[in-house]
Symmetry: C2
Subunit: 226 residues, 2 copies
DNA sequence: TTGAATTTATATCAGTTGATATATATGAAC
DNA sequence: GTTCATATATATCAACTGATATAAATTCAA
């Protein structure tokens, strides 16, 4: 009983105690994030991850308990990354939803929100796209479904839905707005999935600007009463 | 050498010769389509498919050579299903692209195309969504990438792109139009991925009508010159 | 420097996977 | 009814997978 099932490593910070372990842990997590995100839970073997991270097999068990634990750690890391990249912008919208909101103001917030999301997602290195991980887990629930659904998917769609309702000047059902919210978010994540394929034929344009322009157009269309 | 590596079954029609084999083959393919579509190539074991289809393991080898062959057969079946469901509508648009086309006419065609796609995709039983299979293969290329890319993805996006260019009355770059095409198609496929999750909280509304309405709104927005 | 906790490495296990050799059953043609 | 291609079933293999027991090495604090 010299070694606990899941060591206390995650509980320590990088500052105190053994630092090298933290680096190894981070390296494994980074590799796993990319691998799982691109290929899914079952397609990736623990040996692949270990090899690519430059560690041996038991290291994964040591740091993350088991494959599932590593996968869950990836999910938590993704949530943290989203919070870091989108938390501020989302918070502004959340706060604004408390008070009454003119359609114009809501529209501005919605545009900012989606522009931020587009920038956040398109900024990530192409191989390490967090949205692919999330998409996969939503499409066919795996070990990390609950986390990603509760921490990202649901609140994200709820926020967008509420903003859309306040943006449209004609009355809009909760369901109608929700459908539009999901369509807009999905368009972004789906675009990212296709991006590597697009870059095959078309050159590398500044897709961020183009995507934001297209989304702005969609948001403008919400307010129109036809 | 009594049995060929891949038997001639696929070459025969259901009408002549041994019919029972055709039915077994179809049953396996149907199960595989659902399983692969929902969980991906690696997550599904041949034993699962065999059990669910009510056959024993070597039957898969007998009819499809190997797991990869079965997966490819699924991809071909999906292409055929798309052709069956969308071929006519797509053909009309293709034909119209030959002649000059007013923005209004292009818009009508585009609306028809996307309405047909929405109906086609949302009509499929929720568990057997062909777009999930395609999405997965595009996002992380597997054995069936080339087929699905060449037969579905590329032509679909090309068609939508050309119609969008003719719909927008202000000049639109090929790339700009392509981005919009991918965003619109992705929104649909992404919506489908999320549908089972949505049905969790919200009841089963008539999403088809709502989705088509939203897409129509997006298409109308294309023509506006802001 | 010593000593204990942390971190890495070796060897190996039991279960699963895709695949095949082999045998038997079924159906159609003559 | 005999015959041959078609179709299904049994048993088994080699490779791979996730995981662990075990030991060595490293790191930091005292």
């Amino acid at each position: 009983m010299t070694r606990p099932a899941i060591p206390a490593a995650p509980l320590r910070t990088a500052a105190d105690g053994y630092r090298k372990g933290e680096e190894t842990r981070a390296r494994i997590l980074d590799v796993a994030l990319t691998a799982f995100g691109n290929s899914g839970f079952a397609s990736v073997t623990t040996r692949q991850i270990a090899k690519e991270a430059g560690v041996n097999l038991p290291a994964l068990t040591y740091y993350f308990g088991n494959k599932r634990g590593l996968y869950l750690a990836c999910a938590h890391a993704i949530v943290a990354r989203y919070r870091e990249g989108m938390g501020a912008v989302a918070e502004v919208s959340y706060a604004a939803l408390g008070d009454p909101l003119t359609p114009d103001a809501a529209r501005t917030l919605l545009k900012r929100l989606f522009a931020a999301l587009a920038r956040f997602l398109l900024a990530a290195p192409e191989a390490q796209n967090p949205s692919l991980f999330v998409q996969r887990e939503i499409a066919s629930p795996g070990p990390a479904f609950e986390i990603l659904y509760a921490e990202l998917w649901r609140p994200g769609i709820e926020l967008a839905t509420n903003l859309i309702i306040r943006t449209a000047n004609r009355r809009l059902t909760e369901t109608e707005a929700q459908v539009r919210a999901i369509l807009m978010i999905s368009s972004l994540t789906g675009f990212l999935s296709g991006l590597p394929v697009i870059a095959r034929t078309a050159g590398k344009a500044d897709y961020t600007a183009l995507v934001i322009a297209a989304l702005d157009g969609q948001i403008d269309a919400l307010a129109r009463s036809d």
